[in-house]
Symmetry: C2
């Protein structure tokens, strides 16, 4: 067996496949030297589709000369049996964990197909969509009288420090209403927060970033501008940090962090305990 070969990994689900993919990515990330080709097959909700998957798994095994890995979250025993006609390493979420949960809860699981079935109507889902609309409507300092009162958190930082993607992630993953507000040269000259943020001080969370990285990001947007110059980025970052220290705003450095990490950190810092079920 050749260690540098590419092995095919399947993410198979009767729903969107997002759970099996999240699970699979987390586990595969523990093997950074292995090379994988990924195939996502969602909505496998009957025997025919399961058998089609089994055929694809067999084909991949022949092509790669390696047994595929299959992350699966199928719950219907018949489709599971169809899928298992192929030879593969099956990593099966429901098989391993539903039994212990049924025993602990003293209830049978519904074996409901598709994680998100019915979820579009739930409160949790409605909150997430509302939070996405809120983030879109309050991006980049856009706000109307009194609306920031609705915000769970308000991100502040210089242009391109990561506020927008973080606001959207907070909304989409956690249903958290996040506005964001740029800190601009006028704020630094006055060394004061924009007026309307003062009353919401408890909700503020700052993002900062290394000047070199900021300059790189801004260069892609506006090459050779003063806005993107390392000198200006250094000035803005220093002034923003000074302002945030002065105003006692919690902040973190986004330079080497993903929006997932930034969002989880903010959630922990502002202690938003949101009921999800």
């Amino acid at each position: 067996m050749n260690d540098t070969s590419v092995r095919t990994v399947f993410f198979i689900s009767d729903g969107t496949g997002i759970t099996s993919e999240t699970l699979g990515h987390s586990l595969l990330a523990q093997f950074p030297d292995a090379r994988f080709r990924q195939v996502r097959i969602p909505f496998v909700d009957d025997l025919d589709k399961a058998i089609d998957c089994a055929n694809q798994i067999r084909d991949a095994a022949v092509r790669d000369g390696l047994r595929p890995i299959v992350f699966s979250t199928l719950v219907n025993p018949e489709t599971v049996a169809g899928l298992r006609q192929a030879d593969a390493l099956f990593i099966d979420l429901f098989e391993k964990f539903i039994g212990p949960l049924e025993a602990e809860l003293g209830q049978r699981s519904t074996h409901a197909v598709g994680r998100f079935h019915g979820i579009a109507d739930s409160m949790d889902y409605k909150n997430r969509i509302e939070a996405i609309n809120f983030a879109m409507a309050h991006d980049d300092g856009v706000s109307h009288d009194g609306e920031l009162t609705e915000a769970d958190v308000i991100l502040v930082g210089v242009s391109r420090s990561g506020k927008t993607p973080t606001s959207l992630y907070l909304a989409m993953q956690f249903g958290v209403k996040a506005a964001n507000y740029p800190l601009i040269p006028e704020d630094f000259e006055r060394n004061k927060l924009p007026g309307e943020l003062h009353v919401h001080r408890a909700k503020l969370f700052g993002l900062t970033i290394a000047p070199e990285r900021l300059s790189q990001i801004r260069q892609e947007r506006r090459p050779n501008s003063r806005y993107a110059s390392l000198e200006n980025c250094r000035y803005e970052i220093e002034a923003a940090q000074k302002l945030m220290r002065r105003e006692n705003i919690r902040w973190l450095d986004s330079t080497t962090k993903s929006i997932e990490e930034i969002s989880a950190t903010i959630l922990q810092a502002v202690r938003l305990n949101r009921p999800a079920y």
Copy 2:
């Protein structure tokens, strides 16, 4: 044991906790009648933090009178041991699956803490951030000459049919560049697509929605407006579907679907096979 009691569920991770939460939600969704209080504890990356978690688990057990459920993705054996000092039903992703993967791949896992460590620098992550910026810049028909050429998919549909959250989800979860373009009364009068969409016809995907639901959503935005009236929503939806049929655009009904389901369906329909590792 009282079936209507609330049981505490912990999502514990040495990283963001997103994997353990996704896993947990998928499994708990199989028990719609059980009631859970959820506690998310990310960044549990040393023994002290693990012992603090164990204490919180014990407290919850006493308060609820029920053994808590713990979804965990800790990889460090020492922190795992600290956590296990409490009594709970542990659903441990790494414990169950890392062994079989190591055997299959013929490699030891790195036991690297935190799924997203290092990912902020990866191509995959860069694509996702770029796609989010693209979706923001091409929301609601905003586009500049030639930029739609870059789009992987262009969503079309009437105002509030779900285009914006779907575009953002496609970007954030899959790194897919999705623009979106509203179909408006002028398009229906001409019964033609907006001019610049014609050349990108192969990338178009339509969203439709039940007029009753659309009217409800629009009422929240602009109560008692003509825009939100059921009569107008019926007209717009009918005209949009007629236009999409005429132009041979694939479409789906978003009424009872989550953005996860809509996105997975679109991805499958347009067969975007994106290399992720």
